[in-house]
């Protein structure tokens, strides 16, 4: 079973990387881009057949290690076929 964990800086926390990418996109002429937030995505291959248990486990480990709750939010999701590799 594959679980995706996405980690982003919290709203309100300055994301210098996202800001720089946003500015670069504007220089390339993409004026329609209003804001960019850069984040991380983790693909976890997990044992077991119970999606709810795997998601609960992923939430726990995301809170403990993958994200720093002081500055980051995360979301977990069961990967479906064709999800980002």
């Amino acid at each position: 079973m594959t679980i995706l964990v996405r980690v982003f800086l919290k709203r309100g926390v300055l994301d210098p990387q996202g800001k720089a990418i946003n500015e670069a996109l504007h220089r390339l002429g993409h004026a329609d881009v209003v804001d960019v937030r850069a984040g991380k995505i983790f693909r976890l291959e997990m044992e077991g057949a119970d999606p709810a248990a795997a998601l609960a486990s992923a939430r726990k480990l995301a809170d403990q290690l993958l994200a720093n709750p002081v500055i980051e939010d995360f979301e977990v999701e069961l990967a479906t076929a064709g999800a980002a590799r």
């Binding site: 926390v13 300055l14 210098p16 990387q17 720089a20 290690l65 720093n68 002081v70 500055i71």
Partner: protein, 236 residues
């Protein structure tokens, strides 16, 4: 009386460990040793230093992996009993990730790795590392980091101010806060902080790199000499 016993924790990717050992030996006559990240015995120190560097390659977030080292369990126990802990640069990042200090580090606001001298104003005398310094005193100390943009939420910061936990701020050479004086965009120009008890201190600048005449600047030695004085007062 023998000099202070100092343990410097060596993580994979630390690169200021030898500098820290030499600084405490030469400035305060310390009996200093390295303890590896995978050891639990800190060798009965008076002071633990978490040195600068790029522990675990800064993977995930700076300091995030080092926090799970066996040695860090012992450092947390030592700190909980009131032991003095000084985190320099990556050591500061590790202390934040480990929850021994509040807040967290973001990428520098300018996105660049910054390596230069900065000016620090001493904001409190309540830590062992600032005990003999004057409040408002300005030190010139080098920085070298890419993730030194310390931040915390408004409630946390207000609590820290209430508990006098800001130890150093970035200032101009005259000791004034100004936009150009902060090299990384940290909240309220914070350069160094302590825990509520005051025994755990972290700072981004490198006092160990400016502790000898040979290096052209001895301001950093004041931090170590302050600790030695605090220790003598504690032993007396």
């Amino acid at each position: 009386m023998s000099g202070p016993r100092v343990t410097v924790v060596l993580f994979p990717g630390s690169n200021c460990d030898e500098d820290a050992l030499i600084a405490v030996r030469n400035t305060i006559g310390a009996d200093a040793r390295l303890v590896r990240h995978d050891e639990r015995d800190l060798k009965n120190p008076d002071l633990v230093i978490l040195p600068g560097g790029f522990s675990y390659g800064d993977y995930l977030r700076s300091g995030a992996m080092a926090r799970f080292s066996p040695a860090m369990d012992s450092v947390a126990d030592f700190a909980a009993k009131g032991g003095a802990v000084l985190g320099i640069c990556n050591g500061f990042q590790i202390l934040c990730e480990a929850g021994l200090l509040p807040g967290a580090m973001l990428r520098n606001a300018g996105l660049r790795f910054v390596c230069k001298d900065v000016f620090l104003r001493v904001e409190t005398k309540r830590t062992p590392f600032t005990l003999v310094l004057d409040r408002g005193e300005v030190l010139r100390v080098p920085i070298a980091h890419g993730d030194g943009n310390w931040t915390a939420d408004a409630d946390t910061y207000a609590q820290m101010v209430a508990h006098d936990q800001v130890v150093f701020r970035y200032v101009t050479p005259k000791g004034e806060r100004a936009a150009g004086a902060n090299p990384n965009g940290s909240l309220e120009d914070v350069a160094g902080i302590c825990n509520v008890a005051g025994n755990v201190v972290g700072l981004m600048p490198h006092p160990e790199r400016c502790s000898e005449e040979l290096l052209g600047n001895t301001d950093g030695a004041k931090v170590f000499k302050s600790f030695a004085t605090a220790l003598l007062a504690h032993r007396a």
